[in-house]
């Protein structure tokens, strides 16, 4: 982590507006004095920030623990995989899912923060859907959890809209020219989930066994689902 304390304060002051400029000049003064009031390491900085906010009574540490635990242990792509497996197994559920994703996903017990307004888009032999957020990192948390680093990274955000086939190729997925690629840029509060194609050779598999095949990447649209677990990368 190379961000220095001055960078951090500059960015903070930029966010806080021009009114903060006088304070910033003071912090530069401190730099010249070699006085390190704020640690430059993000871990220490965040720790100091948390202590301050707790001391001011602005945050409750237990509430923070609850939020971290929810996304580390409870909410993740297994949720989305169960939705997909059910859609593969139950044609009427699939219809509801494509028509009113919020209600159909709620049927499975999922919903909430950053999944308030869901849209499910279906892949087929002729159509391949791919989801991106070029402006920040919008992603359907209740069904996929928090986004991986690559999804939030500049390479993925910049290139997916202009060169989706190149991006897919980088993920090891080559599509023939007669497949239509649809890229969904999450610029509003709609959150997109790709319903991948059910792989050949999975006839007769239980919903649970199907769910185990469904990967996060296939639900973002950067991979297909393979009939064997070993064939699925992530």
């Amino acid at each position: 982590m190379t961000t220095t304390r001055r960078d951090f304060l500059t960015a903070a002051a930029a966010s806080a507006g021009a009114a903060m400029t006088p304070d910033l000049s003071q912090t530069h003064q401190h730099d010249h004095d070699g006085h390190q009031a704020v640690p430059s390491d993000p871990a220490l900085r965040v720790k100091a920030l948390e202590s301050l906010l707790v001391e001011k009574g602005l945050v409750d540490r237990v509430a923070l623990d609850v939020l971290v635990d929810a996304y580390e242990h409870k909410i993740g792509p297994r949720n989305g995989a169960r939705v997909v497996a059910r859609a593969w197994s139950d044609p009427t559920y699939k219809q509801r899912l494509l028509k009113d994703a919020d209600a159909a996903i709620a049927e499975m017990g999922y919903g909430g923060l950053q999944g308030e307004h869901m849209v499910v888009v279906e892949n087929s032999p002729k159509v391949h859907n791919l989801v991106v957020c070029t402006l920040c990192s919008c992603y359907p948390w209740p069904v996929l959890g928090l986004p991986p680093v690559w999804y939030k990274s500049a390479p993925y955000r910049s290139r997916t809209v202009i060169d989706p086939r190149g991006v897919l190729h980088e993920f090891g997925l080559g599509l023939s020219e007669d497949v239509e690629v649809r890229v969904w840029d999450s610029t509003a509060e709609l959150r997109y989930l790709v319903l991948p194609e059910r792989p050949e050779g999975t006839e007769g598999m239980s919903e649970e066994a199907l769910g185990a095949l469904v990967t996060r990447d296939s639900m973002v649209g950067v991979a297909k689902v393979s009939a064997s677990k070993a064939g699925n990368a992530a």
């Binding site: 961000t3 948390e50 906010l53 923070l64 609850v66 307004h117």
Partner: protein, 219 residues
């Protein structure tokens, strides 16, 4: 604003790097700043759009150099200082200003559970007429606001088709600056890839961009 965050279509950002064994948070502090953003948001001194904007105003060179959650640190500090919840002096010193009152946290553990489970809908149940119909040809406005917008540069001035009407949503361009929610219809607008990128794009491909009424004009 025409910031570096508006990345769609840029070149030179390098290869996509995927970690097959990626944890939810690489380091503990990432989880803490993630949670603090939510907990501080419960004070309702700002909204989701303002929170997004707080990261967009990070100077471009720093934005690109910072890790994702470092941007969250900078954004949150900006928001809490701007809203008066803390002072920059307190952030610097790490201690509350002497004589300051101790608050009672807005987000308790129970409320955190409810927040995760219920979310914060951005739709509004108000009767606003849609200015465009599904199937209608539209043009994204050529506009360059200096404040927050969710209209990406690559789509401005381009022709597309209304693919679906999502209903009425809060309008980010005003909401981010506390100028009102200005609820209006949001749509998925389909742009043929060649309309956006020219002949180098595959003929059949398209990009769907979510857009509000105020981003569009009839074509």
């Amino acid at each position: 604003m025409n910031g570096v965050h508006d990345m769609g279509g840029m070149h030179g950002m390098g290869p996509i790097v995927e970690d097959k064994n990626e944890p939810v948070f690489y380091q503990e502090w990432e989880g803490r700043i993630f949670a603090m953003n939510r907990a501080m948001g419960a004070w309702r001194k700002w909204n989701l759009d303002a929170s997004r904007h707080s990261k967009e105003v990070i100077p471009p060179a720093e934005y690109l150099r910072m890790s994702y959650y470092e941007r969250w640190v900078a954004g949150l500090v900006g928001l809490i200082v701007q809203s008066g919840l803390t002072t920059l002096a307190e952030i610097e010193s790490g201690a509350p200003a002497s004589g300051s009152m101790k608050a009672v946290p807005a987000l308790t553990a129970n409320k955190a559970v409810a927040l995760v489970e219920n979310g914060v809908p951005a739709s509004r149940n108000v009767n606003v007429a849609a200015r465009f119909q599904v199937g209608q040809r539209v043009r994204a406005r050529n506009m360059h606001p200096v404040g927050h917008t969710r209209l990406p540069r690559y789509a401005r001035g381009k022709f597309g088709t209304i693919d679906r009407d999502h209903g009425v949503f809060v309008f980010p361009d005003t909401n981010a600056h506390f100028l009102g929610e200005k609820p209006q219809h949001a749509y998925s607008v389909r742009f043929v890839a060649r309309e956006l990128w020219g002949a180098q794009a595959a003929e059949k491909d398209s990009v769907y961009v979510d857009m509000w009424d105020d981003y569009l004009e009839p074509a």
